[in-house]
Symmetry: C2
DNA sequence: AGGTAAGCCTACTGGCGAGTAGGTAAGGCG
DNA sequence: CGCCTTACCTACTCGCCAGTAGGCTTACCT
C-alpha cells in the first residue's frame, strides 16, 4: 500500500465527448428521478456519472440546462415509443388501444424516465413545466383529434373541440395516474393494466357493471383472459 | 411628517396565537402553491404573513413541519367538502356524481390548496408524499368501495378488489388531471367540467360516440344543457 | 399603577451547493 | 520523440436560506 500506483485515484478513463454526454445524461435522469430537481446536487450527479463536477458544466451547462435536456430527451423517447405502436389507418378504438399498450410498455421499462417526466418536471416552475406541458399538450391534442375523428363514425355530428380537449385531458391524466399506481403495484403485466384503462374509458362503469367488456377485434390475444 | 409616530415601522399588531397561526398557514399555502416547497423561503412566508421569521418557528416549527401541517389542513378541508356533498343512501352513480361536483367545486374555490396538494406534496420525497398518498389512498378506497358495491346492482358477482382499486386510481387521476386542465381553461363552470368526467367514466367513449349521455335522475337541473 | 408573560423584533451564524480558476495527464500528429 | 489539444481534476469562492440568540413592547391582571 505504500507503493504509489501510477493511476491517480479519481482519474476517469479518457472518453470521446459524445459517450461521456450519454453517461452524464443517464446519471442525471437517475438522480433527478430519485431526489427531485432541487434536492439533486450536481456533486451527486457527477459522482454517479463517474466524473467530476467541472465536466458537467463543460458538457451540459448549468443545472437547469441539464434538467431541461433530460426532460426533452425522455419526452422524445416516450412520444416516439407511442407513435411507433399506433397505426393511423386503424379504427379509433384500436388506435387508442395500441397507444395505451405502448404507453404502459414504455413506463414499465423506463421507470426513472417516467418519474422525471411526470413528477419532477411538472412540479418545478420555470421553463421545465413549459417543456413538459408542451409534450403533454401534444399528447392531449393527439387524443382529442382521435376523439373528434371518432365522432364521425357515430351519428353525432361533431363534439365541441373544447369538450374533446377536456376529455382528452382527463384520459391522459387517468393514464398518468394509473401508471403511478402501477409503480406501487407492479405485479401485474403492462397489458392487463392497459386493458383496464381501455375498458374504463371506452365502455364506462355503466357498461362494465352490466358485464360488457371491450376487446380488440380478434387479432391478437384477447387483453384479459376470462379469469 | 417629521414627528416620529409611536408605531415602529416593522411592528405587527399584537394578536392572539390562534389567529396568527391561521394567518401564517394561509400565507404558507399561498407561497408554497406559487413557488413550490424548496423555492419557497421562510423569509417570504413570514413577509406575506406580515410577521417576522422567528414567529414562524415559535408557532409552527421547522419548514418541514409547516409544510406537513399545510398539507394536512388542506387535505382535511377537501375530504370534508367532498364527504359533505355525498349521501350514502343514494345509488352509486348519483353518489359518484355528487362527489365529482363537490370535488370540482372545492378546487374551483381553493386553487392554491389544490396546487399545494396535488403538485407540491406529491413531488417532494420525505414524509410529505406519505401524508398526501394517505389522503389519496383514502379517496381511492372510497371510490373502489363504490365500484365494488356498484357491481352488486348488476349481475356480475363481484369485480376483483385489485381491479376495482386500479380503476379507482385511474378515476381519481382523471379527476386530478382534469382539475389541472381546468385551471388553465377556467372559463367553464365547475358543474360542466364535472359532468364531462361523469359521462366519460360512466358511459365511456363508446356510448358517448353513439350519442348516449348520462344525466342525473331528474332532481336538480340537468348538468349539461343541450347546447 | 406596576408586574409579568405573551407577542414581536433585529441581527446574527453556519452549512450547503452552484458555479469557477487554474492546473495535470493522455492521446494524436508532425 | 516532443508538442498541443482535449479531457480531466482539486480546491476554492460566494450567495442563499434554515434556524437562533437575545432584547424590546404591549396587553392583561391584581
Amino acid at each position: 500500500m505504500h507503493a504509489e500506483q501510477p493511476v491517480r485515484p479519481g482519474r476517469a478513463k479518457r472518453l470521446p465527448r459524445a459517450v461521456r454526454e450519454r453517461q452524464i445524461m443517464d446519471a442525471a435522469v437517475d438522480v433527478f428521478s430519485r431526489l427531485g430537481f432541487h434536492a439533486a446536487s450536481m456533486d451527486e450527479i457527477s459522482e454517479v456519472a463517474g466524473i467530476s463536477k467541472p465536466m458537467l458544466y463543460a458538457y451540459l451547462g448549468s443545472k437547469e440546462e441539464l434538467f431541461a435536456t433530460c426532460i426533452r430527451r425522455e419526452a422524445t423517447r416516450m412520444m416516439e415509443a407511442i407513435a411507433h405502436g399506433v397505426e393511423a389507418e386503424e379504427p379509433p378504438d384500436v388506435q387508442l388501444w395500441s397507444g395505451l399498450r405502448a404507453f404502459f410498455g414504455f413506463v414499465g421499462e423506463n421507470r426513472a424516465s417516467w418519474q422525471v417526466l411526470h413528477r419532477q418536471a411538472s412540479s418545478q416552475g420555470g421553463p421545465f413545466a413549459r417543456e413538459l406541458a408542451d409534450m403533454r399538450g401534444r399528447a392531449i391534442s393527439l387524443v382529442a383529434a382521435l376523439l373528434v375523428h371518432s365522432s364521425d363514425f357515430g351519428d353525432v355530428p361533431r363534439a365541441g373541440d373544447k369538450e374533446a380537449e377536456s376529455l382528452a385531458a382527463a384520459l391522459v391524466g387517468a393514464g398518468e395516474s394509473l401508471a403511478d399506481w402501477w409503480l406501487d403495484n407492479p405485479e401485474e403485466p403492462a397489458g392487463v393494466v392497459a386493458a383496464r384503462l381501455m375498458n374504463l374509458v371506452w365502455m364506462g362503469f355503466g357498461d362494465l357493471v352490466a358485464g360488457d367488456v371491450w376487446h380488440p377485434p380478434s387479432r391478437r390475444s384477447s387483453p384479459e383472459k376470462g379469469s
